[in-house]
């Protein structure tokens, strides 16, 4: 084995503002040229490990360090962040905020500018770095015209030219659509191979990262290293769901069929996994399930009717002849790549924009002339970032705000707010200050504050962005409950295929302003043409079904139903 490049020895860290240690007694050695995945749920301390390696701790975040950490032969407590940044290149999670400059070229050049490198030397290096990530034709572009994936590529190029030996990726998949995420994992892998770097990826989306080989997975839980092993061993260990990590879907499907794996199985790579031995079990289990498949029933009660709606910004057609209906109690996911028209559709439904042609009716009434405020009582819109929605100090005040603004009487407010707080399981916390809540709890408060007006449809924008599996499950179960118990129709705008599979019945797929598919989720996700056109990622269930010679559509359908049954039993 080659020489160690990162060595944690009995390393502990406590943030100045916290009372307990975030990292406890970490012992970890990473060798030069390894490709490592640091896996763990939110709050496990995995990002803190990253910040220790790149020097943000203790440079930007104060706290108490015990033990030692050596990166490329430098003890981090004795070096400053600039010395470390020569060895460690970091690509952060928020690809927008880390785009500091006003053009691609300038952003890639940022670290060279700080080195005071003369411009003639700088230009070829910027161009070379841009070519490595495939952005050489975008050097003059401004950040506002780039997609999340492109911004991430720029961020990566920006840390490629200082001969950093270590590349650190902090949740690189969080903000990308599925196909973009795959491209990103591919790109990281290519640079790892071509440039002999040591690569560390911090993520909780295991299946997506395992799309390309990693040498070792470090599972972090509660500030400690729970497991340090190969991906195959990790998947065999049957520890993931306990740790709040989603296991790959194909493994869930195989396990549901009662398959137990042997030592030689390459679990981390579905392509390499030899399933011949399990084919029989899988097929018979599928047949059993398929026999009892139920039809998805949709209420007759029509809420929303969108007919031939078109919309354009300036010269550009953003939406072309969109028609669909939403019925009471439906669960629909709206999917498609960035800029496909999903958010514009949501804006039209909320009255923020008015369509150029076409009609939108709510319970048969034309609502094109309704103001944002009028529509807010019919269709609630939950933004992605709860911090953008919370304006009050107390949970109760936040939830009653909308009713106050709409001029309800004190009694009505009192009564309704109590109901909503109970619906959202917030009643016991009603007098808590919002500042102390976790991200997921804040999300719940924003949903409660929207629900107080009793809308019949909720549009939820990326409910699970940046959430690990445990929090994701918490939020989604909550929404599922609202849907089931109160018949609220929910439209999810999302990139997350797991969400679509697990929690929705119907998928509407947008591409280039057109609604290219509007059908059952299992049908949409097993249609390779739609997957490709909409920049989605084919789920591993399709691959598995094909390998086993089962019809993918039915296989996904059966899988979804079984998973829901299992989930209902758990509750």
């Amino acid at each position: 084995m080659s020489e160690p490049i990162i060595v944690f020895e009995d390393f502990s860290f406590k943030y100045k503002s916290q009372t307990t240690e975030t990292l406890k007694n970490i012992n970890l050695v990473i060798h030069r040229g390894e490709k490592i995945l640091i896996l763990g749920p939110s709050g496990s301390g995995k990002s803190t490990i990253g910040n220790c390696i790149n020097g943000l701790i203790p440079f930007s975040y104060e706290g108490k360090i015990t033990g030692s950490l050596t990166v490329a032969g430098i003890r981090t407590t004795e070096a400053n962040i600039f010395t470390l940044s020569r060895h460690v290149g970091t690509v952060q999670q928020d690809s927008d905020a880390q785009f500091i400059a006003l053009s691609t070229g300038e952003d890639i050049a940022f670290s060279l500018e700080n080195e005071a490198m003369p411009r003639p030397e700088m230009l070829p290096r910027v161009e070379a770095a841009a070519r490595t990530v495939g952005m050489e034709n975008f050097l003059g572009e401004v950040p506002y015209d780039l997609s999340g994936g492109q911004k991430q590529k720029v961020a990566l190029a920006g840390v490629l030219h200082n001969d950093e030996e270590i590349l650190l990726f902090d949740e690189p998949l969080a903000a990308l659509d599925p196909a973009m995420g795959m491209t990103s994992v591919d790109l990281i892998d290519r640079i790892y191979r071509e440039q002999n770097k040591t690569v560390i990826i911090i993520e909780h989306r295991l299946e997506d990262v395992l799309y390309r080989h990693v040498d070792r997975v470090i599972l972090v839980s509660d500030g400690q290293i729970a497991l340090d092993t190969t991906p195959d061993e990790l998947l065999r260990a049957d520890i993931l769901s306990k740790m709040g990590i989603r296991e790959p879907l194909y493994l869930s499907a195989l396990k549901n069929a009662g398959v137990t794996f042997g030592k030689e199985d390459h679990l981390a790579d579905l392509q390499a996994l030899n399933i011949d031995a399990y084919k029989e079990k899988l097929t018979s289990h599928f047949k059993e399930n398929a026999a009892s498949l139920s039809e998805v029933t949709v209420s007759e009660e029509e809420l929303l009717n969108v007919q031939d709606v078109s919309f354009r910004y300036g010269e550009e057609d953003v939406l072309k002849n969109i028609s669909f209906k939403v019925h009471k109690g439906e669960r629909i996911c709206i999917i498609g790549k960035n800029g496909a028209g999903k958010s514009t559709m949501a804006k039209l439904l909320c009255g923020i924009e008015k369509p150029r042609t076409g009609s939108i009716t709510f319970r048969g009434e034309n609502c094109l002339n309704y103001s944002i405020r009028d529509l807010g009582r019919l269709i609630g819109y939950v933004m992605q970032n709860p911090n953008q929605m919370l304006v009050k100090d107390m949970i109760r005040d936040e939830v009653s705000l909308a009713m106050q603004l709409n001029g309800y009487s004190e009694e009505e407010i009192e009564k309704n707010v109590e109901t909503v707080l109970r619906m959202c399981d917030l009643y016991s916390m009603r007098n808590w200050p919002i500042g102390v809540l976790s991200y997921g709890q804040k999300k719940r408060v924003t949903i409660a504050s929207i629900l107080s007006l009793r809308p019949e449809i909720l549009i939820v924008d990326e409910p699970t962005a940046g959430q690990d599996y445990r929090h994701y499950t918490e939020i989604m179960r909550f929404l599922e409950n609202l849907n089931k118990e109160y018949g609220i129709a929910i439209l999810f705008i999302t990139h997350d295929m797991h969400l679509a599979i697990e929690y929705t019945d119907r998928a509407m797929v947008f591409t280039d302003g057109e609604l290219i598919a509007d059908d059952y989720v299992f049908r949409v996700l097993s249609n390779p043409e739609i997957i490709k056109r909409a920049n989605l990622k084919q789920t591993s269930l399709v691959t598995l079904a094909e390998k086993a010679g089962i019809d993918p559509e039915q296989f996904i359908h059966a899988f979804i139903e079984e998973e829901r049954r299992i989930r209902d039993d758990e509750q």
Binding site: N54, L56, F59, S60, I81, F82, S85, R86, T90, Q92, D94, A97, Q98, F99, I100, A101, L102, S103, G105, E106, A109, F110, S111, L112, E113, N114, E115, A116, P118, R119, P120, M122, L123, G140, V142, P143, Y144, G158, V159, C350, I352, I372, R373, L375, G376, G380, Y381, N385, N387, Q388, M389, L390, V391, L401, A402, Q404, L405, N406, S449, L453
Partner: protein
Amino acid sequence: MNSDRLFINVKPGKTFIDRLTGKTKVRTFLALIMLLIATWDIRLILPLFFLFIIALISIRPNWKKVWAVMGFIILVNLFNLLLMWLVEPDYGRNVVGGSTVLYRLSDFYIISAETMWYFFVRFTKFMATFVISLVFIQSITPSEMAAGLYSIKVPYKACTIVSIAFRYIPDIARDFQNIKISMQARGLELDSRKASLMTRLKQNITILAPLIITSFDRVGNIANAMDLRGFGKKKTRTYYAEHEDTRGDKIMMLVYLLFYGLFLAVVIIKIVTRPEYQVWYP
């Protein structure tokens, strides 16, 4: 061609002035502004004014936007002069010298040639300042501005604040828009026909709380991103956006040196001759 030209450009344009370096733009602008502040001589101001108009035409601005702003500035200026006249109708006596009455409205309110002359010079001077500022703002990108300020020895950390601000202003504006919409959906009335100014003002302040919190989150991320890429490591810095001097820059260097010379000349003449009146009068 440049009809989509915005007031603040992020991408460099293609005309002669656009293609100059930030250094040249900042230095020239500074020379011209100093000169304009120093002089009250129409023989200097008027030619400069015409020169600036030519410069403005040369960068092919979005005339619709230019006229909108120009109209506003002209109105404000005229109003300003009117107020001055109302307070002190014989203002010209002090700054131009003499008071040749052209028309007498009352004992106090007179229209004198000197005052009118002063107003004319003042108006031209302000308009010239405005036009050259317009040219400057429209032809410089924030990155060039940072590089240009750095070239006149402004510390680079301060220069970076300029470009960073322009980088994130659109983001913050978008956040504000989002927050506003989500509040409207919850029932906030921002329609001027339905809510009074005070209510709307108060409600806009409600929106600020989440805006500040989201902005702080972003600031933390930006600061980390900058630290991680070595911002502040060295005492000096170079700029990717600042290309090498072209022929245009070399010519313009002569031009701005000439203007600095003129500025010095104006100041020295003033000190030496100590003219009785500030404004030159034929």
